[in-house]
C-alpha cells in the first residue's frame, strides 16, 4: 500500500501516509484526501458552508481517475486542469440540485466550495518530477536538504495583501480576513490552479495539508515533525495530533509522501530499503 512502482515512473519508490481529523470544535470533517500513487490530493471543503464535505469529496472522487495512470509533465498539467474543471462542474451541479430540489429550510442558500492541492508524480525527459497544483489556501510543503519550504502560494486575501506590500508577514497570522480564499472550486470563483514542477531530487519529503494544520501550528513545528519522524504515516499522524493539541479549531488533514529511492535494475540499496521498511513496520499486505 505504501509502495509504488509503475512503468513511466517505475524508478520511483514512494512511501506515504495520510491522516485527517475533524478537530475539537467542528462537528463535520469537511476535509477529504486521496493518497494513491501517483496522485495525492487534499481538499478542504469551505468552512461554514453546508456541503463543504460534499465538495471536497467530489474533488477526491474525480482525482481518483489519475490513480495508476502515467503522465508526463505536460499531459499531467492538462489532466489536472481538466479534472479541476470537472470537479467544479459537479460541485456546482450538486449545489444547484440542492437549492432547487431541497425544499428544506434555507435550501436556497445552499452553497459548496472547496480548496484543492494536488501532487502528481510525472515522468519527464530528464527524470521524474512532482507536478503540483494549488487552488485555494491548502498548502504544499517540501523538505529539501532538511529544510522546510512552502511551495504553494495561497490564494487568499492576506496573501494578496502581503504581495501588494499592504501587510507584513507578521500581520498575516492575525489578519481578520486570513481565512478568506480568492480562488476555490465551486461557485462562480476563478478555478484556475497554479502549477509547480519540481525535480524529485529536490523533494525529500512532500507534505500536503489543509489549513487546519498550518493554521494551528507554525512552520517551525511542521518542519520539526517532518525532519524527525521517519515514517511518513507517523509524520502525518503527528502533524494532525500537534494541530489538535494546539486547539484543533478546524478540520486537520496531512498527507506526507517520501521518495524513498530511485530504483534502478541494479539499485540494491533502495530496493532493500523498501523491503526492510515494510518488514520493520509489519505492514506487508
Amino acid at each position: 500500500m505504501s509502495q509504488h512502482r509503475s512503468a513511466a515512473t517505475r524508478k520511483v519508490e514512494l512511501h506515504y501516509g495520510a491522516t485527517t481529523d475533524v478537530g475539537k470544535v467542528r462537528s463535520v470533517n469537511e476535509d477529504s484526501y486521496l493518497a494513491a500513487p501517483p496522485v495525492f490530493v487534499v481538499a478542504d471543503g469551505m468552512g461554514g458552508h453546508e456541503g463543504g464535505d460534499v465538495a471536497s469529496r467530489i474533488v477526491v472522487e474525480v482525482f481518483a481517475e489519475l490513480v495508476d495512470t502515467e503522465h508526463d509533465a505536460r499531459s499531467g498539467a492538462a489532466a489536472i486542469a481538466e479534472l479541476l474543471v470537472r470537479a467544479q462542474k459537479e460541485i456546482n451541479q450538486y449545489a444547484l440540485e440542492q437549492r432547487l430540489g431541497g425544499g428544506r429550510e434555507g435550501a436556497f442558500r445552499w452553497y459548496a466550495g472547496t480548496t484543492a492541492v494536488v501532487g502528481l508524480l510525472v515522468g519527464d525527459d530528464d527524470g521524474p518530477k512532482w507536478l503540483l497544483a494549488n487552488l485555494g489556501d491548502s498548502r504544499i510543503y517540501r523538505l529539501d536538504a532538511g529544510t522546510l519550504e512552502q511551495v504553494s502560494v495561497d490564494h487568499s486575501v492576506v496573501q494578496e495583501l502581503l504581495e501588494a506590500g499592504t501587510i507584513t508577514e507578521d500581520e498575516l497570522e492575525t489578519h481578520p480576513e486570513r481565512h478568506v480564499v480568492t480562488r476555490a472550486l465551486g461557485g462562480p470563483d476563478n478555478a484556475e490552479a497554479d502549477y509547480f514542477l519540481l525535480p524529485l531530487t529536490a523533494v525529500e519529503r512532500l507534505m500536503l495539508c489543509s489549513d487546519g494544520i498550518n493554521g494551528m501550528i507554525d512552520d517551525r513545528a511542521i518542519e520539526q515533525i517532518l525532519q524527525e519522524v521517519g515514517d511518513p504515516r507517523d509524520a502525518a499522524d503527528q502533524l494532525v495530533a500537534a494541530a489538535l493539541e494546539a486547539g484543533g479549531r478546524d478540520n486537520a488533514t496531512a498527507v506526507v509522501v517520501d521518495v524513498v529511492g530511485l530504483l534502478t535494475d541494479d539499485a540494491r540499496g533502495s530496493a532493500s530499503e523498501g523491503v526492510s521498511l515494510e518488514q520493520k513496520l509489519g505492514a506487508l499486505p
Binding site: A73, R74, G127, Y195, T201
Partner: protein, 398 residues
C-alpha cells in the same frame, strides 16, 4: 520617394528601431536609436494609426529634445517630403536637381528639409551590409532604409554579389524591376529569398567588409549550423508583422529573412503590444546546449542544475532543462529563455533568475555582457549563453 507612394521600400537590419508608417496613408516614418526602446511601442501605435509628420513630431518631442540623442522622421504627403534628422544619421534625397544630403551629426539641433519631387530617399544610420529586405510599414530594426527599395548601383563594388543571389533564389533581387511588382503592394516580401546553402546567405548582397567577431564563436562551438540567415546585426525584432494587410497573401509567410522571423505565419499579436504568449504556436528560437541537446523555445525554458518551475498556468507549462554542473557553479534554476513579448515579440529573451555565479551573454558583434538578475535581454541568432561549469547554450534560428 517617388510619386507612387506605394512603391516598396527596403531596409537593412541594424541596431536602430524603424517605425515605418504606411506611405499610402501618408503616415510618417521614424527611426530611433536603440536607447529609445521604451518609446517605440507607443510611437508605433501612433504611426500605425496613420499619424502624419506633425503629429509624430509632437509626440516625439513631448519629453523634450535634449534627451533624444538622435532620430530621423520623414513623410511624404501630396508629393511634399518633410524630413528631420538629428544625431548620427544621414539622409540622401535625390531630386531632378541632384542629391541633397542632410547630416544630423553636423547640425546643432537638427537638419530639416521640405522638398517636392523627391525621386529616391536613402536613410543611413550604420554602415551595414545587406540583405535588403522589403517592407512597406512595420516595426523593424534597421541600419538603413531606402525608398524605393535598394538596388545595388552599378558602380558599387559589391554588385557582383547580386547575381549570385538571383541564381540561388527564385525571387528577383529587385522587386521594382520584376513583373511581380503589383504583388508587393502592401506586403513586404523578401527581396532575396533565403538561399538554401549555408555560407553565402549571410551576406547575400555584399561580402562582409571586415571580419566579424562571431565566426570564431561559431567555429568554436559549432554544435549545429547557425544558419539560416542570422545576419549578426539583424536584431531578433519582429518580422514586420504589421506589413500584412492581406492575410490571404501567401507572401506573408516569407517575411523579412534577415529578421528573426518565425518560420511560417507570423505569431499572433503585434509588436509594441504587451501581448505575451506564454506558449507560442511556433518556436521563436532553438537552443543548442553544449551537451548536444536541443530545445525549442515555444514556451518558457528553465535551465539549471536542478530546475524548478513555479506558479504557472496549466496552459503555459514551462520546459525544464537540467544541465550537469560538477562544480556546482550553476544554480538549481539558473536562467530562463522564453518567447519575448512587446518589443521583443517574435524573438527569444533570456533572464538570469538570480543565479549565484551569474550568466555571461555573448551576442554576435557585441562585447560579452553579464546578465543582470531579473532583466530580460533579447537574443540574436548566434548568441552564446555561458552558465559556467563549461555549460554553454547556443541560440539559433529554428
Amino acid at each position: 520617394m517617388s510619386d507612387d507612394a506605394r512603391t516598396p521600400r527596403s531596409y537593412r537590419p541594424g541596431s536602430w528601431y524603424g517605425v515605418l508608417g504606411d506611405p499610402a496613408q501618408s503616415a510618417a516614418s521614424l527611426l530611433l536609436p536603440p536607447g529609445e526602446r521604451a518609446r517605440v511601442a507607443a510611437l508605433w501605435e501612433l504611426v500605425d494609426g496613420g499619424a502624419g509628420f506633425d503629429e509624430v513630431l509632437d509626440a516625439l518631442l513631448a519629453g523634450g529634445l535634449s534627451d533624444l540623442e538622435g532620430f530621423v522622421l520623414w513623410s511624404v504627403a501630396d508629393d511634399l517630403m518633410q524630413v528631420v534628422v538629428r544625431g548620427p544619421a544621414r539622409v540622401v534625397l535625390t531630386t531632378a536637381d541632384g542629391e541633397d544630403v542632410l547630416d544630423g551629426a553636423s547640425a546643432a539641433t537638427w537638419a530639416e528639409r521640405r522638398v517636392r519631387g523627391v525621386r529616391s530617399t536613402s536613410v543611413e544610420i550604420e554602415d551595414v551590409d545587406g540583405p535588403d529586405l522589403g517592407v512597406v510599414s512595420g516595426l523593424v530594426r534597421v541600419g538603413r532604409v531606402d525608398e524605393p527599395a535598394y538596388a545595388a548601383a552599378p558602380d558599387e563594388a559589391d554588385v557582383a554579389a547580386v547575381p549570385e543571389v538571383e541564381d540561388e533564389s527564385t525571387e528577383p533581387a529587385d522587386p521594382v524591376a520584376s513583373e511581380d511588382v503589383t504583388g508587393l503592394e502592401g506586403s513586404p516580401e523578401p527581396l532575396a529569398e533565403e538561399p538554401e546553402i549555408e555560407e553565402p546567405e549571410i551576406e547575400p548582397l555584399a561580402p562582409p567588409r571586415e571580419p566579424r567577431p562571431q565566426p570564431t564563436l561559431r567555429d568554436g562551438l559549432s554544435l549545429a549550423p547557425v544558419a539560416p540567415t542570422p545576419d549578426p546585426l539583424s536584431d531578433p525584432l519582429p518580422d514586420p508583422v504589421h506589413a500584412q494587410p492581406d492575410p490571404d497573401d501567401e507572401q506573408t509567410e516569407q517575411l523579412a529573412p534577415g529578421a528573426w522571423q518565425p518560420t511560417g505565419p507570423a505569431l499572433p499579436g503585434i509588436p509594441g503590444q504587451p501581448q505575451a504568449p506564454a506558449v507560442t504556436s511556433r518556436p521563436v528560437a532553438r537552443l543548442v546546449l553544449s551537451n548536444g541537446a536541443t530545445v525549442e523555445v515555444d514556451r518558457a525554458v528553465l535551465v539549471g542544475r536542478s530546475p524548478e518551475a513555479r506558479r504557472f498556468g496549466a496552459a503555459e507549462q514551462p520546459r525544464l532543462v537540467t544541465v550537469p554542473s560538477p562544480h556546482q557553479e550553476i544554480s538549481s534554476t539558473h536562467l530562463e529563455v522564453r518567447p519575448g513579448s512587446g518589443a521583443d515579440h517574435g524573438s527569444a529573451v533570456v533572464t538570469d533568475l538570480g543565479s549565484t555565479n551569474g550568466t555571461v551573454l555573448v551576442q554576435p558583434g557585441l562585447p560579452p555582457e553579464s546578465l543582470q538578475p531579473g532583466i530580460a535581454v533579447q537574443l540574436i541568432p548566434g548568441a552564446i549563453i555561458d552558465l559556467g561549469d563549461g555549460v554553454t547554450i547556443q541560440v539559433t534560428n529554428v
